[in-house]
Symmetry: none
Subunit: 225 residues, 2 copies
DNA sequence: TATGGCTCTTAACAATTAGATAACAATTAC
DNA sequence: GTAATTGTTATCTAATTGTTAAGAGCCATA
C-alpha cells in the first residue's frame, strides 16, 4: 500500500503501542513509536511526522507537557497533535489540552474509529497545506491549473520546472541550496546529480525570462525580489 | 454572517444544546434544536436541515433509533447525521452507528473541533449537491438527462465518461490527479487500475473532440479553459 | 434463456515527452 | 590566470500517456 503519511505514536504501554502501530501500518501509514514524551521529541524532530498521537498519561514526560513543547516549536507548525485519553481519566485535566492539541480520541480504542478519525484529520491537513497559488512580482503561480500567469499570458512549465519555481517562489529572496532543492522537489531518495537542477533553472529562465531566478554562486538559487 | 447551512441539534441536556447552538450560530449556521428524537423528527421534516447533530443517549428516543428512522426516510437522502457521543458511553454501542451516521464527535465538545468538523462535512456535501448541470465553453453538461448539448447537437456519453467529464468541468482549469478522479468518480474503495481513466478520457475525446480535456503530464487531466 | 449491444476494465504495444546526463562554453572569484 | 562554479546545448532513456483490442459482465428484448 502506498504511503499516506507519517504518524508518531507515543504511549508508555507497549501493547497499546503495538496495537495502534499495527492498525495504522495496515492502513498505509509510516509509523514511529516512543514510550514517553522525552524520547518522542528527538524522533519527532528527525522524522517530522504529519501527526503525533499522544497518550495523556505517561511516566517520564506526559502528553500535555509534550504537546506544549511541540506546539512551541516552529518545526512542528505543520504537525497535528491528537491526544489519547483513557476514559477513566478526569476530563478536567484534558480540558487543559488547551496545550493546543488538535483533537483527541478516547480509549479504549477501536481500530476502525482510530483509523477513520486519523484519516479525516490528515485529509483535512493535506487540503490545508496544499497552498494553491503564489503571487509574486507579476507572476501568478497556480497549483490548481499548473500554469504560470503573467498578465493575460499563460505559461506552461513542465512538472519539475513548476515544482522548482514553486519552491523558490514560496520564499522569495531566500537562497535554496541544491541539496535543499533536491530534498524538496525530488524527494527523499534522490537519485539524480545535482547539476540537473541547473538545467531546469535554465529552462525556467528560457520560458519566463532571466529576471526571476537569481544565482548565488557557491550557494544556490533564489527567487529575486 | 451569511447563512451557510441548516443544522438541527438534538440533545436532552439544555445547557449543551445552548452551548452548541451558540457556537454554530456564531459560525453562521441556521440552528434548530430538539430535546429528543421524537420531537426532532417533525422539526427535521419541516426544515430539512443539511445536518443533524444527534446525541446518542437520550431519554425519549435515542440517537441510534432516530438515526435509523432518518436514514430510512427518503426525505433525508441529502441530510448528514453526526453523532454526539459522551465519553462514558460504551463504544461498542457506538459501533451500532452502522445505523448509518456519517460521522461522530466525542464529548466533551471543544467548539473549535465541533465547528471545524461540521464545516468539513458540509463543505463536502455542498460540493456533492452542486449544480445538476454545468455550462462551459460551448457545452451544456446536463445531469438530468445525462446528455451533453453542443448547440443543437446532443452527445451521449456512457455513465463513467459522463461523471468524469462532469468532475473535470466542475472546475475548469483545475488539474485533477488520477487519484483525485478515482476517489470522486469511482468512490472510496476503488478496485480499478488508474490507467482505466486514460481510456475513458480517450473515449470522451473521441466523442467530443480533443479541445476540451487537456493532459498535464505527471499530474493528471483538466478541463481546458 | 439465448442474443446482441452496450459499458467498463484490463492488457499490450506505440508514441510521446519530460527529465537526466555528459560535454563543452562562459563566467566568476580569488 | 587559473580553478571552481555555473550556463548551455544536444543526446539518450525512462516514465508517462495514447491507442487499440479483447474479454467480462449486464441488461433489454426477442
Amino acid at each position: 500500500m502506498e504511503n499516506i503519511g507519517k504518524i508518531l505514536v507515543v504511549d508508555d504501554e507497549a501493547d497499546i503501542l503495538e496495537f495502534i502501530s499495527y492498525n495504522l501500518k495496515k492502513e498505509g501509514y509510516e509509523v514511529y513509536t516512543a514510550p514517553n514524551g522525552k524520547e518522542a521529541m528527538p524522533i519527532a524532530k528527525k522524522v517530522k511526522p504529519d501527526l503525533i498521537l499522544l497518550d495523556v498519561m505517561m511516566p517520564v514526560m506526559d502528553g500535555i507537557e509534550t504537546c506544549k513543547r511541540i506546539k512551541a516549536d516552529s518545526d512542528f507548525d505543520q504537525t497535528y497533535v491528537v491526544f489519547l485519553t483513557a476514559r477513566s481519566e478526569d476530563y478536567s485535566e484534558i480540558e487543559g489540552l488547551d496545550a493546543g492539541a488538535d483533537d483527541y480520541i478516547a480509549k479504549p480504542i477501536k481500530p476502525k474509529v482510530l483509523v477513520t478519525r486519523l484519516n479525516a484529520i490528515l485529509r483535512r491537513k493535506i487540503k490545508e497545506l496544499a497552498a494553491p497559488s503564489i503571487k509574486v512580482k507579476d507572476l501568478h503561480i497556480d497549483r490548481e491549473s499548473f500554469l504560470i500567469y503573467r498578465g493575460e499570458q499563460k505559461i506552461q512549465l513542465a512538472r519539475k520546472e513548476f515544482e522548482l519555481l514553486f519552491l523558490l517562489a514560496s520564499k522569495p529572496g531566500k537562497v535554496f541550496t541544491r541539496e535543499n532543492i533536491l530534498e524538496k522537489v525530488w524527494g527523499d531518495e534522490v537519485l539524480v546529480v545535482d547539476r540537473t537542477i541547473d538545467v531546469h533553472i535554465r529552462k525556467i529562465r528560457e520560458k519566463l525570462g532571466d529576471e526571476y531566478i537569481g544565482t548565488v554562486k557557491g550557494v544556490g538559487y533564489k527567487f529575486e525580489v
